[in-house]
């Protein structure tokens, strides 16, 4: 009988965490941020049908990065959990906290017991009656739950993009301002020129505080275009009037010196691969290690 090689638990966990991180870092990021009338979700996603953002329940939304089949399975489980719970008790008894705990259990158990951890990262957000009641939970591949305030970024280069969102975000932004910030951050690649993402390439949804029951609403391409352009005009006007609104300056500074570095096409290619990686099954395996930016941007555990 063969003796199995001894692998220390530390090494085992570290290998699994590295594996999961790599898988997640290949995908495009999702930005979740609170605005004055609710919570907005935005990601670059050319697919009209394979969503990364969706409705779980009346006031609860879901966003995910990583392997599509894995987070889709979790999403369906979440909808079943919420619907069964609401049916058994009452609609008001379905909470983001309960759902986040259920997800944490699944992710944690799979991380420890299965041969492969889930290569996903999730956000479960619930819009409250007031901004103080809003809840945003971020769940990582190993079942860690973090209670976030105001904004989260997950996926490739999460830390770096998260910092940019943190610099630009403030409470009570309008929806247009919040989305413009999100889109700018999503379009800033790790080592070079910012890209402009067309509204047609974006998947954006909001949880609107004022809607009576089902708060979740997807933004159409048209309304998204209106929001982004209108607010861009307003913002630049506002910047001129009141000086830096906090968003423009910090973003421009790191981008400027890096413009001289490698040409645009080289940088776009890995990003494109990463974007299509999510829904495609052929993207398994270790693949090539994520670019330097994603390494430091890997989710903290």
């Amino acid at each position: 009988m063969n003796m199995p090689f001894y692998v220390s638990p530390e090494q085992l966990m570290k290998d699994r965490a590295d594996f999961a991180r790599k898988g997640i870092a290949r995908g495009r990021s999702v930005v979740v941020l609170a605005y004055d009338a609710g919570i907005a979700f935005a990601t670059e996603n050319p697919s009209r049908a394979l969503h990364k953002i969706s409705e779980i329940y009346d006031r609860i939304g879901f966003a995910a990065v990583g392997k599509y089949n894995e987070f889709e399975n979790l999403r369906v489980a979440g909808v079943r959990y919420a619907d069964l719970r609401g049916y058994t008790y009452d609609r008001s008894d379905v909470t983001a906290r309960g759902l986040a705990n259920a997800y944490a259990q699944i992710l944690g158990t799979v991380f420890i017991t299965e041969s492969k951890p889930l290569e996903v990262e999730l956000v479960v957000a619930e819009v409250g009656r007031t901004a103080e009641d809003d809840q945003i939970y971020r769940l990582t591949y190993d079942g860690t739950v973090a209670d976030e305030h105001g904004h989260v970024v997950m996926g490739g280069q999460a830390e770096q993009l998260g910092r940019k969102v943190g610099e630009g975000w403030r409470p009570d932004m309008s929806l247009g301002e919040a989305l413009r910030l999100a889109v700018t951050v999503l379009g800033s690649s790790e080592n070079g020129t910012p890209r402009t993402i067309e509204p047609g390439q974006l998947e954006v949804a909001v949880l609107e505080r004022s809607r009576p029951r089902r708060a979740f609403r997807r933004l159409t391409k048209q309304s998204l275009t209106e929001l982004l352009t209108e607010e861009a005009a307003e913002d630049s006007g506002a910047d001129d009037a009141e000086g830096p609104g906090g968003t423009a300056v910090p973003r421009a500074v790191p981008a400027a010196p890096e413009k001289d570095e490698p040409a645009a096409p080289e940088k776009d290619d890995p990003a494109d691969q990463a974007g299509t990686a999510d829904p495609e099954p052929g993207d398994e395996g270790p693949g090539k290690p994520p670019p330097s930016g994603t390494q430091e941007g890997a989710p903290q555990d």
């Binding site: 049908a49 969503h51 969706s54 409705e55 779980i56 399975n73 979790l74 369906v76 489980a77 909808v79 079943r80 959990y81 619907d83 069964l84 719970r85 609401g86 049916y87 058994t88 008790y89 259920a102 259990q105 699944i106 158990t109 017991t113 089902r214």
Partner: protein
């Protein structure tokens, strides 16, 4: 921790049972039947003691079992009226987009000869583009509506798209079929389903029998004990090309006639200010008419009849 605390299907402690993560259909009903069949409407009744557990009064049971007809309060009359350009004579409807359907229900629930409730709601939104009304055993009917609403919403969330109107109508038929054992014991529920068909651009009505038969009705229809009279009224009042307000008036007047002759149907209650629930479904979705608007229609109808002064 009901339903997710590592029950019989659970693999580990404190995580969702496997059923939640198993690839399956987009139907909540099927999920419920598989995972928690005890929570289906009426599961306790059909799986439990059975009719012998209830001392039925002789002659009071509607079916072969021992249930008393007043065991559950009964909801009565529901009507639905289409409006807009709709179907030209004899043919399939032209897509006009301006049409829709009105559904209205009285507010009375009876328990045998008693009035159990004067302000019951029998018309509900099934989803954004359809309405469902229930006549028959109220407790089961309301539970059925709740589950049906959830079924449509669940499908919408899982699939990311709406069912077709016929898909919705057929889904309700399936659920009703599941209630057949109880219907046989006297706890009959007869729904009426109406909605806006987004593909055809018109309002459509579907009626059901207790065995789950689903029938499309044209122009107008009614169910419940007062429906005989309501349908007679609608036959006279309905005409092609009605607008939404006209359809509301037809529905309210039909309910007025039903209340006139059927003791189980409540008329407009001007003392308590309780008026029928009237809902309109159009391309803009489901909307419930404000009570004041319905009150105005009901009062106008009452005034016309007062003027006519008929005793019949």
């Amino acid at each position: 921790m009901d339903g997710f605390g590592g029950g019989p299907h659970g693999r580990g402690q404190g995580r969702l049972p496997d059923a939640f993560l198993r690839p399956g259909s987009s139907s909540f009903l099927e999920f419920l039947a598989e995972h928690a069949p005890d929570r289906l409407p009426g599961a306790a009744v059909t799986a439990g003691a059975g009719p012998s557990g209830y001392p039925g009064a002789p002659g009071a049971a509607a079916g072969q079992g021992g249930y008393r007809s007043d065991l559950s309060p009964h909801a009565t009359t529901i009507v639905a009226v289409t409006f807009g350009a709709g179907r030209p004579e004899g043919g399939r409807g032209t897509v006009s987009g301006s049409g829709g359907v009105v559904m209205a229900g009285d507010r009375r629930a009876t328990s045998g000869p008693m009035i159990a409730s004067r302000s019951m709601e029998k018309v509900y939104p099934a989803d954004d583009y359809s309405a469902v009304g229930i006549a028959g055993a109220a407790g089961i009917g309301i539970e059925l509506v709740k589950l049906y609403q959830l079924e449509l919403e669940h499908y919408e969330k899982i699939e990311g798209s709406l069912l077709s109107l016929e898909g919705k109508a057929n889904r309700l038929a399936t659920m009703l079929r599941g209630n057949l054992p109880m219907a046989m014991q006297g706890l009959t529920v007869v729904p009426l389903f109406a909605g806006y068909d987004l593909e055809r651009g018109e309002g459509r009505i579907f009626s059901y029998d207790p065995t789950g038969g689903c029938y499309e009705e044209y122009e107008h229809h009614g169910v419940g004990s007062g429906s005989l009279f309501a349908r007679g009224a609608m036959k006279k009042l309905w005409r092609p090309g009605l607008d939404a307000a006209g359809a509301v008036a037809v529905a309210v007047e039909a309910l007025y006639d039903a209340a006139d002759d059927d003791s189980a149907t409540g008329g407009p209650d001007t003392v308590r200010r309780i008026f029928p629930v009237v809902a309109t479904v159009t391309a803009d979705g489901y909307s419930r008419q404000p009570d004041d608007d319905v009150a105005a229609v009901a009062e106008r109808i009452a005034a016309e009849r007062r003027e006519r002064g008929s005793l019949a």
